[in-house]
Symmetry: C2
Subunit: 155 residues, 2 copies
DNA sequence: ATATATTATATCGTGCACGATATAGTTGTG
DNA sequence: CACAACTATATCGTGCACGATATAATATAT
Protein backbone atom coordinates (compact mmCIF):
# COMPACT_ATOMS: atom_id res chain seq x y z
CA UNK A 1 0.00 0.00 0.00
CA UNK A 2 1.43 3.29 -1.09
CA UNK A 3 0.05 5.26 1.83
CA UNK A 4 -1.60 7.73 -0.47
CA UNK A 5 -4.18 6.85 -3.01
CA UNK A 6 -6.84 4.73 -1.49
CA UNK A 7 -8.99 7.69 -2.58
CA UNK A 8 -10.76 7.34 -5.90
CA UNK A 9 -10.11 9.72 -8.77
CA UNK A 10 -13.33 11.17 -10.13
CA UNK A 11 -13.73 9.78 -13.64
CA UNK A 12 -13.97 13.24 -15.20
CA UNK A 13 -10.37 13.87 -14.16
CA UNK A 14 -8.83 10.65 -15.40
CA UNK A 15 -6.57 11.28 -18.33
CA UNK A 16 -7.97 8.29 -20.17
CA UNK A 17 -11.56 9.39 -19.93
CA UNK A 18 -10.90 12.80 -21.44
CA UNK A 19 -11.19 13.76 -25.08
CA UNK A 20 -8.94 16.76 -24.72
CA UNK A 21 -5.75 14.86 -24.01
CA UNK A 22 -5.63 12.48 -27.01
CA UNK A 23 -6.44 15.44 -29.23
CA UNK A 24 -3.57 17.42 -27.72
CA UNK A 25 -1.19 14.47 -27.94
CA UNK A 26 -2.19 13.48 -31.48
CA UNK A 27 -1.76 17.02 -32.71
CA UNK A 28 1.75 17.21 -31.29
CA UNK A 29 2.74 13.85 -32.74
CA UNK A 30 1.52 14.78 -36.19
CA UNK A 31 3.43 18.04 -35.97
CA UNK A 32 6.56 16.07 -35.17
CA UNK A 33 5.98 13.66 -38.05
CA UNK A 34 5.59 16.58 -40.43
CA UNK A 35 8.64 18.30 -38.99
CA UNK A 36 10.80 15.35 -40.04
CA UNK A 37 9.81 15.99 -43.65
CA UNK A 38 9.66 19.80 -43.43
CA UNK A 39 12.93 20.40 -41.64
CA UNK A 40 15.07 19.60 -44.70
CA UNK A 41 12.99 22.13 -46.66
CA UNK A 42 13.62 24.78 -44.01
CA UNK A 43 9.98 24.96 -42.89
CA UNK A 44 8.31 24.50 -39.53
CA UNK A 45 4.87 22.94 -39.34
CA UNK A 46 3.00 26.20 -38.66
CA UNK A 47 4.94 27.81 -41.51
CA UNK A 48 3.81 24.94 -43.73
CA UNK A 49 0.19 25.54 -42.74
CA UNK A 50 0.56 29.21 -43.63
CA UNK A 51 2.25 28.38 -46.93
CA UNK A 52 -0.68 26.10 -47.79
CA UNK A 53 -3.02 29.04 -47.34
CA UNK A 54 -0.80 31.22 -49.48
CA UNK A 55 -0.52 28.60 -52.23
CA UNK A 56 -4.30 28.71 -52.37
CA UNK A 57 -4.94 32.41 -51.84
CA UNK A 58 -1.90 34.62 -52.43
CA UNK A 59 -1.76 37.49 -53.04
CA UNK A 60 -3.86 38.15 -49.95
CA UNK A 61 -3.94 40.07 -46.69
CA UNK A 62 -2.63 38.87 -43.35
CA UNK A 63 -6.22 38.87 -42.21
CA UNK A 64 -7.08 36.19 -44.77
CA UNK A 65 -4.35 33.94 -43.43
CA UNK A 66 -5.52 34.68 -39.92
CA UNK A 67 -9.12 33.73 -40.67
CA UNK A 68 -8.08 30.53 -42.41
CA UNK A 69 -5.54 29.31 -39.85
CA UNK A 70 -7.28 30.72 -36.77
CA UNK A 71 -3.95 32.22 -35.75
CA UNK A 72 -3.70 35.83 -34.58
CA UNK A 73 -1.25 38.44 -35.72
CA UNK A 74 0.83 38.02 -32.57
CA UNK A 75 1.67 34.59 -33.96
CA UNK A 76 1.50 35.42 -37.65
CA UNK A 77 3.52 38.62 -37.88
CA UNK A 78 6.81 37.10 -36.71
CA UNK A 79 6.15 33.89 -38.63
CA UNK A 80 5.52 35.83 -41.84
CA UNK A 81 8.66 37.88 -41.27
CA UNK A 82 10.63 34.67 -41.10
CA UNK A 83 9.06 33.44 -44.34
CA UNK A 84 10.01 36.76 -45.90
CA UNK A 85 13.60 36.47 -44.68
CA UNK A 86 13.76 33.01 -46.23
CA UNK A 87 12.74 34.57 -49.53
CA UNK A 88 9.47 32.64 -49.80
CA UNK A 89 7.10 35.61 -49.63
CA UNK A 90 7.04 39.40 -49.77
CA UNK A 91 5.08 41.71 -47.48
CA UNK A 92 3.94 45.14 -48.69
CA UNK A 93 1.44 47.66 -47.42
CA UNK A 94 -1.56 48.01 -49.67
CA UNK A 95 -1.42 51.42 -51.36
CA UNK A 96 -5.23 51.72 -51.35
CA UNK A 97 -5.73 50.76 -47.69
CA UNK A 98 -2.51 51.37 -45.81
CA UNK A 99 -3.65 49.24 -42.88
CA UNK A 100 -3.46 46.08 -44.95
CA UNK A 101 -0.26 44.10 -45.50
CA UNK A 102 -0.45 42.17 -48.75
CA UNK A 103 1.40 38.86 -48.94
CA UNK A 104 2.86 37.74 -52.26
CA UNK A 105 4.58 34.47 -53.10
CA UNK A 106 8.05 34.72 -54.58
CA UNK A 107 9.19 32.27 -57.25
CA UNK A 108 10.97 30.31 -54.54
CA UNK A 109 7.77 30.26 -52.49
CA UNK A 110 5.76 29.01 -55.42
CA UNK A 111 8.20 26.29 -56.39
CA UNK A 112 8.47 25.05 -52.82
CA UNK A 113 4.96 23.73 -53.32
CA UNK A 114 6.18 21.06 -55.69
CA UNK A 115 8.62 19.80 -53.10
CA UNK A 116 5.85 19.59 -50.50
CA UNK A 117 3.46 17.73 -52.71
CA UNK A 118 4.68 14.28 -51.72
CA UNK A 119 4.67 14.89 -47.97
CA UNK A 120 1.05 14.05 -47.06
CA UNK A 121 1.10 10.70 -48.84
CA UNK A 122 4.55 9.89 -47.45
CA UNK A 123 3.17 10.39 -43.95
CA UNK A 124 0.09 8.32 -44.69
CA UNK A 125 2.41 5.47 -45.59
CA UNK A 126 4.32 5.89 -42.37
CA UNK A 127 1.26 5.98 -40.13
CA UNK A 128 -0.45 2.70 -40.63
CA UNK A 129 -4.13 3.33 -39.98
CA UNK A 130 -7.44 2.37 -41.45
CA UNK A 131 -8.17 4.78 -44.26
CA UNK A 132 -11.76 4.69 -43.08
CA UNK A 133 -10.78 5.85 -39.60
CA UNK A 134 -8.91 8.84 -40.97
CA UNK A 135 -11.79 9.86 -43.17
CA UNK A 136 -14.21 9.59 -40.28
CA UNK A 137 -11.87 11.52 -38.04
CA UNK A 138 -11.73 14.33 -40.56
CA UNK A 139 -15.50 14.46 -40.76
CA UNK A 140 -15.91 14.50 -36.99
CA UNK A 141 -13.35 17.27 -36.59
CA UNK A 142 -15.05 19.16 -39.38
CA UNK A 143 -18.22 19.13 -37.30
CA UNK A 144 -16.44 19.83 -34.01
CA UNK A 145 -14.44 22.86 -35.18
CA UNK A 146 -17.44 25.15 -35.73
CA UNK A 147 -18.82 24.16 -32.33
CA UNK A 148 -15.49 25.00 -30.73
CA UNK A 149 -15.33 28.31 -32.54
CA UNK A 150 -18.82 29.14 -31.33
CA UNK A 151 -17.86 28.16 -27.79
CA UNK A 152 -14.90 30.52 -27.88
CA UNK A 153 -16.78 33.45 -29.32
CA UNK A 154 -19.56 33.63 -26.76
CA UNK A 155 -18.76 35.53 -23.60
CA UNK B 1 -8.77 37.32 -63.35
CA UNK B 2 -6.20 37.84 -60.62
CA UNK B 3 -3.22 37.22 -62.86
CA UNK B 4 -1.91 34.47 -60.68
CA UNK B 5 -3.81 31.37 -59.86
CA UNK B 6 -5.17 29.81 -63.02
CA UNK B 7 -2.94 26.97 -61.88
CA UNK B 8 -4.62 24.19 -59.93
CA UNK B 9 -3.59 23.36 -56.38
CA UNK B 10 -2.89 19.66 -56.00
CA UNK B 11 -5.59 18.30 -53.70
CA UNK B 12 -3.05 16.90 -51.22
CA UNK B 13 -1.98 20.43 -50.46
CA UNK B 14 -5.39 21.98 -49.96
CA UNK B 15 -5.95 22.89 -46.35
CA UNK B 16 -9.45 21.50 -46.44
CA UNK B 17 -8.43 18.09 -47.68
CA UNK B 18 -5.89 17.56 -44.93
CA UNK B 19 -6.50 15.81 -41.66
CA UNK B 20 -3.56 17.45 -39.96
CA UNK B 21 -4.94 20.98 -39.95
CA UNK B 22 -8.30 20.42 -38.24
CA UNK B 23 -6.51 18.35 -35.63
CA UNK B 24 -4.04 21.16 -35.03
CA UNK B 25 -6.77 23.80 -34.95
CA UNK B 26 -9.12 21.79 -32.73
CA UNK B 27 -6.36 21.10 -30.25
CA UNK B 28 -5.53 24.79 -29.97
CA UNK B 29 -9.17 25.79 -29.56
CA UNK B 30 -9.73 23.26 -26.80
CA UNK B 31 -6.63 24.49 -25.05
CA UNK B 32 -8.05 28.01 -25.18
CA UNK B 33 -11.42 26.87 -23.85
CA UNK B 34 -9.72 25.12 -20.95
CA UNK B 35 -7.49 28.11 -20.32
CA UNK B 36 -10.56 30.24 -19.63
CA UNK B 37 -11.44 27.92 -16.75
CA UNK B 38 -7.89 27.17 -15.63
CA UNK B 39 -6.52 30.71 -15.60
CA UNK B 40 -8.46 31.69 -12.46
CA UNK B 41 -6.96 28.62 -10.73
CA UNK B 42 -3.46 29.67 -11.76
CA UNK B 43 -2.94 26.72 -14.09
CA UNK B 44 -2.04 26.49 -17.77
CA UNK B 45 -3.48 23.70 -19.87
CA UNK B 46 -0.26 21.63 -20.03
CA UNK B 47 0.10 22.10 -16.26
CA UNK B 48 -3.44 20.79 -15.88
CA UNK B 49 -2.57 17.71 -17.96
CA UNK B 50 0.44 17.07 -15.73
CA UNK B 51 -1.62 17.58 -12.59
CA UNK B 52 -4.11 14.99 -13.85
CA UNK B 53 -1.28 12.49 -14.14
CA UNK B 54 -0.11 13.35 -10.64
CA UNK B 55 -3.60 13.08 -9.17
CA UNK B 56 -3.63 9.54 -10.53
CA UNK B 57 -0.05 8.49 -9.92
CA UNK B 58 1.81 10.65 -7.38
CA UNK B 59 4.19 10.04 -5.80
CA UNK B 60 5.99 9.12 -9.00
CA UNK B 61 9.04 9.86 -11.07
CA UNK B 62 9.30 12.50 -13.79
CA UNK B 63 9.71 9.61 -16.20
CA UNK B 64 6.21 8.38 -15.35
CA UNK B 65 4.74 11.76 -16.19
CA UNK B 66 6.80 11.85 -19.35
CA UNK B 67 5.55 8.45 -20.51
CA UNK B 68 1.95 9.35 -19.78
CA UNK B 69 1.92 12.82 -21.35
CA UNK B 70 4.40 12.08 -24.13
CA UNK B 71 6.25 15.22 -23.10
CA UNK B 72 10.03 15.23 -22.68
CA UNK B 73 12.05 16.60 -19.79
CA UNK B 74 12.97 19.70 -21.76
CA UNK B 75 9.28 20.59 -21.47
CA UNK B 76 8.54 18.94 -18.13
CA UNK B 77 11.43 20.14 -15.98
CA UNK B 78 10.59 23.86 -16.19
CA UNK B 79 6.86 23.13 -16.01
CA UNK B 80 7.33 21.04 -12.86
CA UNK B 81 9.51 23.73 -11.33
CA UNK B 82 6.67 26.19 -11.85
CA UNK B 83 4.21 23.80 -10.21
CA UNK B 84 6.65 23.50 -7.31
CA UNK B 85 6.97 27.29 -6.99
CA UNK B 86 3.18 27.50 -6.86
CA UNK B 87 3.27 25.09 -3.93
CA UNK B 88 1.31 22.36 -5.72
CA UNK B 89 4.03 19.71 -5.76
CA UNK B 90 7.44 18.92 -4.29
CA UNK B 91 10.46 17.52 -6.19
CA UNK B 92 13.07 15.42 -4.41
CA UNK B 93 15.82 13.15 -5.60
CA UNK B 94 15.16 9.52 -4.77
CA UNK B 95 17.63 8.42 -2.07
CA UNK B 96 17.81 4.89 -3.51
CA UNK B 97 18.40 5.92 -7.13
CA UNK B 98 19.77 9.43 -7.19
CA UNK B 99 18.97 9.87 -10.87
CA UNK B 100 15.25 9.84 -10.19
CA UNK B 101 13.30 12.93 -9.15
CA UNK B 102 10.20 11.93 -7.19
CA UNK B 103 7.16 14.16 -7.47
CA UNK B 104 4.83 14.49 -4.49
CA UNK B 105 1.55 16.35 -4.26
CA UNK B 106 1.27 18.94 -1.53
CA UNK B 107 -2.03 19.47 0.30
CA UNK B 108 -2.69 22.44 -1.98
CA UNK B 109 -1.99 20.27 -5.02
CA UNK B 110 -4.37 17.61 -3.81
CA UNK B 111 -7.17 19.98 -2.97
CA UNK B 112 -6.87 21.74 -6.32
CA UNK B 113 -8.35 18.59 -7.78
CA UNK B 114 -11.74 19.34 -6.24
CA UNK B 115 -11.79 22.74 -7.91
CA UNK B 116 -10.99 21.19 -11.30
CA UNK B 117 -13.66 18.53 -11.06
CA UNK B 118 -16.37 20.63 -12.64
CA UNK B 119 -14.31 21.87 -15.59
CA UNK B 120 -14.80 19.05 -18.12
CA UNK B 121 -18.57 19.06 -17.80
CA UNK B 122 -18.67 22.86 -17.89
CA UNK B 123 -16.85 22.77 -21.20
CA UNK B 124 -19.12 20.07 -22.56
CA UNK B 125 -22.02 22.37 -21.88
CA UNK B 126 -20.30 25.20 -23.68
CA UNK B 127 -19.39 23.20 -26.78
CA UNK B 128 -22.65 22.04 -28.25
CA UNK B 129 -21.89 18.80 -30.03
CA UNK B 130 -23.42 15.40 -30.46
CA UNK B 131 -22.37 13.27 -27.53
CA UNK B 132 -22.04 10.43 -29.99
CA UNK B 133 -19.58 12.38 -32.11
CA UNK B 134 -17.35 13.06 -29.13
CA UNK B 135 -17.36 9.44 -28.07
CA UNK B 136 -16.52 8.33 -31.58
CA UNK B 137 -13.78 10.94 -31.82
CA UNK B 138 -12.23 9.63 -28.64
CA UNK B 139 -12.28 6.08 -29.94
CA UNK B 140 -10.73 7.06 -33.26
CA UNK B 141 -7.97 9.04 -31.58
CA UNK B 142 -7.41 6.13 -29.23
CA UNK B 143 -6.68 3.98 -32.27
CA UNK B 144 -4.66 6.67 -34.06
CA UNK B 145 -2.32 7.53 -31.19
CA UNK B 146 -0.52 4.16 -31.10
CA UNK B 147 -0.09 4.32 -34.88
CA UNK B 148 1.40 7.80 -34.57
CA UNK B 149 3.72 6.68 -31.79
CA UNK B 150 4.87 3.76 -33.93
CA UNK B 151 5.42 6.10 -36.87
CA UNK B 152 7.61 8.35 -34.74
CA UNK B 153 9.68 5.57 -33.22
CA UNK B 154 10.82 3.94 -36.45
CA UNK B 155 13.82 5.52 -38.10
C1' DA C 1 -15.09 68.65 -40.52
C1' DT C 2 -14.42 66.57 -36.36
C1' DA C 3 -14.94 63.42 -32.81
C1' DT C 4 -15.72 58.46 -32.25
C1' DA C 5 -15.63 53.84 -33.39
C1' DT C 6 -13.74 50.22 -36.07
C1' DT C 7 -10.17 47.73 -38.50
C1' DA C 8 -5.56 45.74 -39.63
C1' DT C 9 -1.40 44.90 -38.03
C1' DA C 10 2.34 45.08 -34.59
C1' DT C 11 4.59 44.60 -29.99
C1' DC C 12 5.45 42.63 -25.43
C1' DG C 13 5.69 39.07 -22.00
C1' DT C 14 5.06 34.30 -20.48
C1' DG C 15 4.92 29.55 -21.11
C1' DC C 16 5.03 25.73 -23.83
C1' DA C 17 7.30 22.16 -27.44
C1' DC C 18 11.16 20.08 -29.02
C1' DG C 19 15.87 19.01 -31.28
C1' DA C 20 20.39 18.82 -29.64
C1' DT C 21 23.47 18.26 -26.11
C1' DA C 22 25.23 17.72 -21.29
C1' DT C 23 25.76 15.49 -16.79
C1' DA C 24 25.52 12.62 -13.10
C1' DG C 25 24.15 8.21 -11.45
C1' DT C 26 23.61 3.16 -12.32
C1' DT C 27 24.22 -1.23 -14.52
C1' DG C 28 26.56 -4.62 -17.11
C1' DT C 29 30.89 -6.81 -18.87
C1' DG C 30 35.45 -8.40 -19.34
C1' DC D 1 37.91 -3.32 -10.31
C1' DA D 2 37.68 -0.57 -14.47
C1' DC D 3 35.22 1.03 -18.13
C1' DA D 4 31.76 1.14 -21.49
C1' DA D 5 26.75 1.32 -22.08
C1' DC D 6 22.64 2.92 -20.42
C1' DT D 7 19.27 5.84 -17.70
C1' DA D 8 17.01 9.89 -15.64
C1' DT D 9 17.01 14.46 -15.60
C1' DA D 10 18.64 19.07 -16.93
C1' DT D 11 20.09 22.89 -20.05
C1' DC D 12 20.13 25.67 -24.25
C1' DG D 13 18.28 27.79 -28.32
C1' DT D 14 14.51 28.63 -31.57
C1' DG D 15 9.90 29.11 -32.79
C1' DC D 16 5.33 28.94 -31.84
C1' DA D 17 0.64 30.36 -29.18
C1' DC D 18 -1.81 33.69 -27.05
C1' DG D 19 -3.58 37.39 -23.66
C1' DA D 20 -3.02 42.16 -23.30
C1' DT D 21 -2.00 46.34 -25.22
C1' DA D 22 -0.51 49.78 -28.80
C1' DT D 23 -0.73 52.29 -33.17
C1' DA D 24 -1.99 53.98 -37.30
C1' DA D 25 -5.38 54.07 -41.01
C1' DT D 26 -10.10 54.11 -42.37
C1' DA D 27 -15.07 54.42 -41.74
C1' DT D 28 -19.11 56.35 -39.30
C1' DA D 29 -21.80 59.59 -36.97
C1' DT D 30 -22.80 63.64 -35.40
Amino acid sequence: MSGVATEVIPPQLQLDSQLCFPLYAASRMITRLYQDKLGPLGLTYPQYIVMMVLWESAPCAVKTVSARTLLNTNTLTPLLKRLEQQGLISRQRDSVDERVVVLHLTDAGRSLRDECECIPSALLNKVVAEEDDLLQLKQLLGRLLPALKAGLEED
